[in-house]
Amino acid sequence: MIKSKDDYHTIFFIGITATYIIATLALPMYAILSKSIENKDGIFIGLSNYKYYFSNPSLFYSIYNSLFVSIVSTVISVTLSFMFAYALTRSCIKAKPFFKTIAMIPILLPSLLAGIALIYLFGNQGIFKELMMGKSIYGPIGIIIAEVFYTFPHALLIIITALSIADARLYEAAKVLRSSPIRTFFTVTIPSAKYGLMSACFVVFTLVITDFGIPKVVGGQYNVLAIDVYKQVIGQQNFEMGAVVGVILIIPALLAFIVDRIVQKKQISILTARSVIYVPKKNKTFDLLMLLYCSFIALIILTILGICFYASLIKFWPYNLSFSLKNYQFDLMDGGGWGSYYNSIKMASYTAFFGTIIVFTSAYFVEKARTFKTARITMHLLSMMPMAIPGMVLGLAYIFFFNNPNNPFNFIYGTMAILVICTITHFYTVSHLTAITALKQIDNEFESVASSLKQSFYKMFFSVTVPISLPAIFEIGIYFFVNAMTTVSAVVFIYGPKTNLASVAVLNMDDAGDIAPAAAMGMMIFYTNAFVRISYVIITKKVLVKFQQWRTN
């Protein structure tokens, strides 16, 4: 068929976004792979680096440690969040929105902050030090507690979705057949939430095994893979060995990603149009138990946040507990000062702005273009890849790729641009899926109607698609912003002297022993993210409603 103007524009945009993903993901990954099979002089040496790594028992041990903390954290985090999600979806407790909001707090914090809180609570001068019964919080115990805190909301969101799609008729059938509540739980509830639970496990496992902030802060001498990468690169400047550990770190993340994709594909829609939505019935004992449980979890989350809030506002823990703002005088400390905070705001805003535009535009072509099916499928697959790449590995790959003098884009190295690009790529997949989900809900015939009326897709895109998708577009922007504020792993290798970031400042101040200022900076990140989230809620409630009258009848 003769190509129309729209078709040429489509291929142009798909080309641009494909180039973007290839240049910011595929090529850097190639760079890290080839680095891992070179020696210091850049000469190909095959798998020697890997042989060396596996022959060194102390390095090899960190694989075991990584798997251990990841598996234990996954089991605990998914169990706790399942019970929490169960309370929110299957009981009649009051204040569900309150509990859900509290449970989302960890998403707004840099993961390191949980580690810092644990030090205040259970460290050598901690309030509840006795509870440790002589054991040290520095090590696997601290890592696991902090990781559970950090991954809890991620698992919770997935499981809530899985539990919300219950068909009431199945429960009625079970009741009529006189099945006991326990039996109903194992034959109806668990199977229908099975895929959600599995998905939550993979997500938590990947988050933990690739996280580097928490082990850095409370890991002590306990080595994990992510720490190894950091030590090799920052400590010993051994980039080749850093690349080797990075590549090893990809394997579990990639496996979890692939298995998760397969599982997701099996999940056909359980809820049909004929299903009846399950509405929980009152049960005094059960509801009371669930209320106690939710309050307990909420208390822990608020304690962890509260201790950082408190510690950042006093003179000197634990000797002088009088109020002081001196911990917020970041300019007096190493780590970049207030400048790093402003850098973070800038970086997060750029990421949100450009990231949303890139993601939404490319998702639009992937989902709605009439032609170029192969290119669109390839584009979609490319968009799924960033999920499988740990942030540290991506950051390290950026050093190899962009710091190469032969790279024409070498000039972005050490600038704000590379941080923004890296962060967009790092958080690309989830944003892409959000956009695709929103676009799938829009009638595919809109484009056909527009072309039959001889209107370009620009008009269609700006007057119909974008207005309809505004909620999803804002959601993507906020996701980018919040994550850009809290991320450490993706940027720790590529920030420059002029582009220090708040999250990295938390890390560096903690490293230098300035724990209270680190907590203070962490709280600044929290305040900012909370402010953005709350503003968004207000904006959607008050302002968007005005422009979206067509949604209501």
């Binding site: 009439r370 009638d443 056909s448 072309s451 039959s452 209107q455 119909v464």
Partner: protein, 353 residues
């Protein structure tokens, strides 16, 4: 040029699946043609190929003397209405209808004029500032129709436009669309799986099955002169029997000779008989009659349906016939009673296999 649109030898396959096989037909100017067929017969694919939304594997399409085979949809001249209406939910009725008018460098005055023309055409003058979600299904469908007609396209394509509506609204809109089409004289192709809809609305019907056109005819001829057993069976109810040729105008069926008005060309043939053409008679020795046993009688108000079993050479054939209430002979019929059936020469239709 005596046709408005010509589809010539168009085929379309998705992988190994052949959705359309060498479809060829012509549409006259101002005609309303229905493409009718069971789901999966390729009718929607055919419509989408005509619109350029789907690319044909081979074949040719000519509209008003212009070859449009390889043109993208925006360079063709048509308006389209989908089953889902595909109204833009964030635009008002007014903005939906004028969506296709705005960039044509027309003055606001002309656009306003066209808008009020269309609004009065579909009878929704007082709803122009409402959003689609504030309208009923039937009203939304009319807005979609007005939007498609706004740029005055030469060809109107309707893809199952009434399927998503309630039965009552559907019947009403059926008439309304037909009258509107005649009033505007716009050449229209409508896809439907509902034979009643096609019979009541179309000037001509293209009946499709498995990617192939079975017959193109007026509704009346499609019903009374089916050319294939599929057509006979799909349109209304039909009894189909195997038979063999005896002479040019007589055939062998149930071990008996029957006369037939149509001339017979093949040795092995299929005979179609409409239930309402079968007459139960008390005369015994007529040469066109055969006896059978009443197996079931189903009362349907103004008439009943009788299921009659014909037995010959230990082979049983079932036959359905209509039994109008006003016939005395019918009122006395009981289950298992033996009856004589008259199959007149004009009731036997020879169809292709």
């Amino acid at each position: 040029m005596d046709y408005y649109l010509k589809v010539k030898d168009v085929s379309k396959s998705f992988g190994k699946f052949q959705a359309l096989q060498n479809t060829t037909f012509e549409v006259q100017e101002g005609e309303l043609v229905c493409i009718l067929g069971p789901s999966g017969c390729g009718k929607t694919t055919l419509l989408r190929v005509i619109a350029g939304l789907e690319e044909q594997s081979s074949g040719q399409i000519i509209q008003q003397g212009r070859e449009i085979t390889n043109l993208p949809p925006e360079q063709r001249d048509f308006g389209i209405v989908f089953q889902s209406y595909a109204l833009f939910p964030n635009l008002s009725v007014k903005d939906n209808i004028t969506f296709g008018l705005k960039t044509r460098k027309q003055s606001t005055k002309i656009i306003e004029q066209r808008l009020s023309e269309l609004l009065s055409l579909i009878g929704l003058e007082y709803h122009k500032n409402k959003y689609p979600s504030q309208l009923s299904g039937g009203e939304q469908q009319r807005v979609a129709l007005a939007r498609a007609l706004a740029p005055s396209p030469g060809l109107l394509l309707l893809d199952e436009p009434l399927s998503a509506l309630d039965a009552k609204v559907r019947q009403f809109l059926r008439l309304e669309i037909k009258n509107l089409q005649k009033k505007l004289g716009v050449t229209t192709i409508m896809v439907t799986h509902d034979q009643e809809e096609a019979l009541s609305m179309a000037d001509r019907i293209i009946l499709m099955n498995k990617g192939v056109i079975e017959q193109i005819d007026t509704p009346q001829d499609l019903y009374s002169k089916p050319q294939t057993s599929f057509v006979a069976d799909f349109i209304g109810k039909t009894n189909l029997f195997k038979a063999t040729k005896k002479s040019d105008h007589s055939l062998m069926m149930f071990g008996q000779i029957f006369e037939c008005h149509q001339s017979i060309n093949h040795n092995e043939i299929i005979v179609a008989v409409r239930p309402e053409d079968i007459i139960i008679t008390e005369e015994v020795s007529n040469k066109d009659t055969i006896s059978g046993i009443v197996k079931e009688i189903e009362f349907l108000g103004s008439y009943s349906i009788g299921l009659i079993e014909i037995n010959h050479n230990n082979q049983r054939e079932n036959l359905i016939c209509h039994l109008p209430l006003d016939n005395n002979a019918h009122n006395n019929l009981k289950k298992n009673s033996v009856v004589n059936i008259l199959l007149s020469p004009q009731s036997l239709k020879i169809v292709n296999h």
